[in-house]
């Protein structure tokens, strides 16, 4: 818009200028013409006056005689006077001899009479005209204007003409001056005009520059926005080649050099089929005008791809093409969904595992049957099949069928690991089949190499790690509530003679037996909790040994009381970090628990590497409680002091903590220990810590218990 307006202004300016110049020229011309006319009239007037004062008779006489006489001299003086007074160049009278020859009769310049002159053709024309028209005329010769007045005799003939020549040289000078003025004036106008243009132009240039700068800034802002959006934006037209304005995320996802790259090639570098399909679809999209149909076509384009280890989601949108307003370009939006997808996959895997576990728990018996079927197949059927006399073809078919069936059945339990391995097995057998060298021994070796049983173990690992090793037990298991067994024991004791009863009861009790270790299974957790609460740094408690089966009911009360021992170790035994380091010990304390069966005794050791029992403190407390007197105490060995910790009320802590210090705990332990007929031996040392060594009889369970 601005452009047109200024152009119009400029054109108008030019036109005005031209007009002014034109006016000037016209003015000069009219002045020039008028001036000449005026001079012509003047000259004619002078000629007329002179002509009127000429005596025609005398003139004719002079014409005939050509003798200068008084009249001639009188007239000459008169002519000279006229010339001097009017300031004209010449005043004279001429007489035409022939069309191209004249003679001067009177002449203000010369004093001779009858001087002739040859006329050129154009001059002749003019002179003839002067002589033959009876009116006055004036003509322009170069720098002279001549005004003629005819001399007419009595008969009306033109016998001569008076001519007055006026020099108009000065007119030309005047003209030149005036033209010069115009030129100057025009030049000034041009300069002014040029300045005006320059000013308006530079104004416009400045304005345009500002607009450009603003535009650039806007573009930069938008670009920034896109680049930081975390998504890749790119676009292409019907040529499918990527336009150079794309956001940097595209480079991260697709590669560095994207200018003008072909989009299908870029997203499917290795898959010719997909490339061709995408090409086909895109071309159709660009040709389609109906936006509804176009959206349907767009739906065929991939909504996600795997590229350069990224999982990229893709969206498509048609937008106006920046180059031509009629056509459209396709904008592609890339989103990096790699992490999200990895997470989803992980979740999916966990979900599948969960399903598998649930199925295993719900249909445990069926699963166990399946497992033992498979094991039988591996251990017995396969070797048999291989060595039997059946034709190889039948054998292979059999094996394949069985494996296929197993695959399906394990599939029902969502055991995808098994399914996959068995599928792989099927493939191997298939390819073995096609070989020419297939023999039954070959088959046998193949099956051996494929290690069918190992496949199962791998497959069961997840189940076992989640549900415990005891979940998959090879023998058939019947579940009986413990109470029922106890009932049974009681009934046997009541109804059956004691000898037999004892045997039976023993057997039944053994059904209830579990590993001794189980009784202490909770302690590692407990000790960790204690350590945390007391802000002590410990290695995790490990339970060593204790796999031997026992009547857990018998030892339960005792093992439960051991909390006080552990608490003692963590609270009083293990020092805090600084003290340990000062003592040159490891920063982390250690509590151990070892269980061993030696002949008919259970050895249970609980030990810490702390600072040992506070013997002085014990002595002090004993004194306070009045258990012994000072003298009695003095006689006691360290060895004898130690058991005193079990005395009721004894605690080397002045204030009871939540955990220990009431002086009750140890006493309870002692009590329980005595109930099951056990013994305790304590070894303590400020450098190596404290050891509680329990000895528990294993017993045959013939005694009843409370």
């Amino acid at each position: 818009m601005e452009n047109n307006r200024s152009r119009l202004a400029r054109t108008v300016n030019v036109l005005i200028l031209a007009l002014l110049v034109l006016i000037q020229i016209l003015l000069i011309r009219s002045w020039y013409n008028k001036t000449l006319d005026d001079i012509g009239i003047n000259a004619m007037t002078i000629s007329r006056v002179v002509a009127d004062s000429i005596n025609i008779t005398e003139y004719e006489k002079l014409l005939a005689e050509k003798e200068p006489n008084d009249y001639f001299r009188e007239m000459q003086a008169y002519f000279q006077r006229i010339q001097a007074e009017t300031g004209v160049k010449y005043v004279y009278v001429e007489h035409q001899i022939s069309p191209s020859q004249i003679e001067y009769i009177f002449d203000s310049e010369k004093d001779s009479l009858g001087e002739t002159d040859e006329l050129s053709t154009p001059a002749a024309h003019t002179h003839t005209k002067a002589f033959h028209t009876r009116a006055q005329t004036s003509t322009l010769w170069g720098t002279l204007i001549t005004g003629y007045a005819p001399l007419v005799n009595a008969d009306g003939q033109v016998i001569g003409a008076v001519g007055t020549d006026v020099d108009i040289q000065y007119i030309y000078q005047e003209l030149a001056k005036r033209v010069g003025q115009i030129i100057l004036y025009t030049a000034a106008m041009v300069v002014l005009f040029g300045l005006l243009i320059y000013v308006t132009l530079s104004e416009e240039i400045r304005r345009r520059r500002v607009v450009e700068k603003n535009l650039k800034q806007s573009m930069q802002s938008v670009k920034n926005l896109l680049n930081n959006a975390g998504q890749g934006f790119l676009s292409f037209g019907s040529d499918l080649c990527i336009e150079p304005e794309y956001s940097i995320e595209c480079q991260r996802l697709l590669g560095p050099d994207l200018d003008k790259r072909n989009f299908p090639d870029l997203i499917y570098p290795k898959d010719q089929e997909q490339r061709d399909f995408v090409n086909k679809v895109l071309l159709e999209c660009f040709q389609e005008n109906d936006p509804v149909r176009r959206e349907v076509f767009l739906s065929f384009l991939p909504d996600a791809i795997f590229l350069n280890n990224y999982y990229i989601k893709i969206e498509y949108k048609f937008i106006a093409d920046k180059r031509q307003e009629e056509t459209q370009a396709l904008m592609v939006i890339l989103t990096d969904a790699t992490e999200k997808r990895a997470l989803q996959e992980q979740m999916e895997n966990e979900r599948k595992t969960l399903k598998m576990i649930v199925k295993a728990v719900i249909s445990r018996n069926d699963l166990l049957e399946l497992i033992s079927d498979y094991q039988r197949f591996c251990q017995m059927t396969v070797p048999q099949l291989v060595t039997c006399k059946e034709p190889l073809q039948r054998v292979i078919v059999d094996v394949k069928r069985r494996i296929h069936t197993f695959k399906g059945e394990f599939g029902q339990f969502e055991m995808i690991h098994m399914v996959r391995s068995l599928h792989h097995l099927e493939e191997e057998i298939k390819s073995f089949e096609q070989r020419d060298s297939a023999t039954s021994t070959g088959l046998g070796m193949l099956l051996q190499n494929l290690n069918l049983e190992h496949v199962l173990n791998e497959g069961l690992r997840i189940l076992q790690s989640t549900l415990g090793e005891n979940f998959i037990v090879r023998d058939k298991i019947i579940e009986i509530p413990e109470e029922k067994l106890l009932e049974l024991e009681d009934q046997i004791a009541m109804l059956i003679p004691s000898q037999e009863a004892n045997i039976l009861i023993t057997k039944i009790r053994q059904l209830r037996y579990r590993s001794f270790k189980e009784l202490l299974a909770a302690y590692p957790n407990t000790v960790e909790g204690l350590a945390r609460g007391l802000e002590k740094s410990l290695y995790p408690l490990e339970l060593e040994g204790g796999e031997f089966p026992v009547d857990t009911k018998r030892y339960q009360a005792f093992t439960k009381s051991l909390i006080h021992i552990f608490a003692n170790c963590v609270d009083h035994g293990i020092e805090n970090r600084e003290d340990r380091i000062k003592a040159g010990k490891e920063e982390k304390g250690r509590v151990v628990c070892k269980m061993k069966l030696v002949q008919d005794q259970i050895l249970l050791k609980i030990a810490d590497d702390g600072k040992g029992l506070d013997l002085e403190g014990i002595k002090q407390k004993v004194l306070e409680l009045g258990v012994f007197t000072a003298e009695q105490l003095a006689e006691l060995d360290d060895k004898d002091i130690i058991p005193l910790i079990f005395e009721d009320g004894l605690s080397s802590k002045d204030s009871a903590s939540m955990i220990s210090g009431r002086g009750i705990g140890m006493a309870i332990v002692k009590q329980e220990l005595e109930k099951i007929g056990g013994h305790l031996d304590i070894v303590t040392n400020p450098d190596t810590g404290t050891e509680f060594n329990f000895l528990l009889p294993i017993g045959t369970g013939t005694h009843s218990y409370d």
Binding site: F277, V296, F297
Partner: protein, 121 residues
């Protein structure tokens, strides 16, 4: 409330689809088992919309589509396809089918596409 013609060789699929249509507020006015039947039924019933399975044994879905559109160019056909048939579905759309649905069905999606093709909101 549109009148639907279902073209599919599987009785189970037809029943499935019919149930979905019913719940979506449309009426199934006819069923066809192959392209031949489809052509005939269309002529008789002039449904508002046709669903057509892309893989049918006797007459292939694309062929049937071509014949149907040839005879009735204003027919609104939605293709039903399994998940890895992109190429064929694309051909069908190019030929003149309006849209497509991928098995297994998501009921909402099916109704949305049907309504969109019919021009309902």
């Amino acid at each position: 409330m549109a009148r639907v013609l279902i073209v599919d060789d599987s009785a189970i699929m037809r029943r499935n689809l019919a149930a979905i249509m019913g719940r979506g507020g449309h009426e199934v006015i006819g069923e066809a088992l192959n392209g031949m039947q489809a052509l005939a039924e269309y002529g008789n019933l002039h449904p508002d919309i046709v669903t057509m399975d892309i893989t049918m044994p006797l007459s292939d879905g694309i062929e049937a589509l071509g014949k149907l559109l040839g005879r009735y160019p204003d027919a609104r056909v939605v293709m039903i396809s399994a998940i890895n048939q992109k190429d064929r579905v694309f051909e069908a759309i190019k030929l003149g089918a309006k849209n497509y649905i991928i098995k297994p069905f998501e009921e909402d999606k099916v109704i949305n596409i049907i309504n969109q093709v019919l021009g309902f909101k």
